[in-house]
Amino acid sequence: MTRLSPARILLYVISALVLIYLILPVLIIVPISFSSARFLTFPPPSFSLRWYQQYFSNPAWMQATQVTLTVAVLTVLIATPCGVAAAYAISQSKLRIMRLIHMALLLPLVVPIIITAVGIFFVYAKVGLVATMPGLVLANVMLGLPYVVISVLAGLQSFDPAQEMVARSLGMNRLRSFFAVTLPQIKSSVVAGGIFAFISAMDETIVALFISGGQYQPLTKRMFTALRDEIDPTIAAISTLMTAASFMLVLLASTRQKKGG
């Protein structure tokens, strides 16, 4: 570690370059969002908030933002309890089929998202859920479930189920002992799982491209269509806000997870 051999210097240089490659594109958006120029010039000629004004004063962007936030909140409210219940059952049950169910719950991570998107579109078209709020929320619940399940299962691994047995032997029923003994101890991983589901819903684009429409189009869908046409700096402002929001949430989730073990 102490001796600086040429190999080690090379390692430092390559790693530094890779890290710059990773970070720089994410950061470049921030100065552009505060630029006054209509077209891309770098460095920006002068500071301005016009792209943020453009975003906040445009009813279409505002409606899309509202859709995104509503979908994300509803997704968390539905995916978190479903995911926690499933993770608890998977960790407690000795049934053979649970392993299969566990794998089924991770399917959204395995199946390429474009396939999921087109498949849901066909099914939704049959039952009239295309371009509806429930349709959008349900799809995001499905995509968010694996995050909750993985996070809560990790939390449950460091929890001793004997504690719940003790509570039950002292006369609590299963439900009460879960809420009184187990849940407080895995709370952090539950919150972290919920936050990841929220971010996943906030960022989801591909499924929304196929199944959303009319007044129920999330921000990402409008951004995608806008990006296909031109490089509008309003998107830099939106991107900056989205990135800031994601980072704060991830920070929150990771401090939570650390406490939860």
Partner: protein
């Protein structure tokens, strides 16, 4: 216990198992059983070229990600704890930025009047702007950027489990640092290499947003075949057949890889 999993399972069955089943059905049934869709996918030139291109891009992205990711994971593993957390944080930071935001950033950087072309012209290294985007190059650059964390994290996790004693033993027996690295460390890190490469390759096979925005219509990956057949041409049977072939490929890769390493190792990182 089954009652507890049922809400989650119901959502998964209704929104992923049923839709995928529907696609499979639609690919072979149109007013009767037919293999016409598959015949087209396997014989028509556009499909064939798109599958080949997707495979090439995924392979290139995986190899580049491995070459870039390995040193970073190695460094994060070798550094003292505080520094290694910093390195990992820098790796994970863009991971949590929307894929759309990053596609936008790369458009800003790589387009004709973009930051990189401006810089190169300013330095008088080029006289004409380079075509860095709206082609396979732009797609690969942005895709590697998005998938690199999926390479670094499993690599780091595997390297952490390699006991330091082994390297010291190698050194004490007279091996040079590079010999110890190639004979001891590298082979022990191979499960991580396999996990990282699998994840990156498989995710790349199904990539949609980046090639659509940065490929400029020329880099038609398989996912774009699926969407175009649905959105532009109303060819639902053809779209379904392409989707089924892609999914079969992905599942086959996971199946083969699972013979060597546990799948939890691959999926747990996401």
């Amino acid at each position: 216990m089954l009652a507890l999993v049922s809400p989650a399972l119901l959502v998964i069955l209704a929104l992923i198992v049923l839709p995928v089943g529907w696609l499979a059905w639609q690919s072979i049934y149109h007013d009767g059983f037919t293999l016409e869709n598959y015949r087209r996918v396997f014989t028509e030139d556009i499909y064939w070229r798109s599958f080949a291109l997707t495979f090439e891009i995924s392979l290139a992205v995986t190899l580049i990600a491995l070459l870039l990711g390995y040193p970073v994971a190695y460094l994060a593993n070798a550094l003292p704890k505080g520094w290694s957390i910093l390195v990992l944080a820098l790796v994970v930071l863009p991971f949590w930025t929307s894929v759309l935001v990053r596609a936008y950033a790369w458009l800003v950087l790589l387009q004709r009047s973009g930051v990189i072309n401006q810089l190169l012209r300013h330095l008088e290294l080029i006289s004409e702007p380079l075509a860095l985007v709206h082609n396979s190059f732009g797609t690969v650059v942005a895709t590697v950027h998005i998938l690199l964390p999926f390479m670094v994290l499993p690599l780091y996790a595997t390297m952490q489990k390699i006991p330091n004693d082994l390297m010291q033993a190698g050194a004490s027996l007279g091996a040079s640092p590079s010999l110890t690295f190639f004979r001891v460390f590298l082979p022990l890190s191979l499960p991580g290499v396999l996990a990282g490469c699998t994840m990156v390759f498989v995710l790349c096979l199904g990539f949609y947003i980046t090639p659509e925005l940065l490929g400029g219509g020329r880099t038609v990956m398989v996912s774009m075949l699926v969407s175009r057949n649905v959105e532009l041409y109303n060819q639902f049977g053809a779209a379904s057949a392409v989707a089924v072939v892609l999914l079969a490929g992905v599942l086959a890769i996971f199946f083969v890889v699972s013979r060597f390493i546990s799948l939890d190792r691959v999926l747990g990182q996401k």
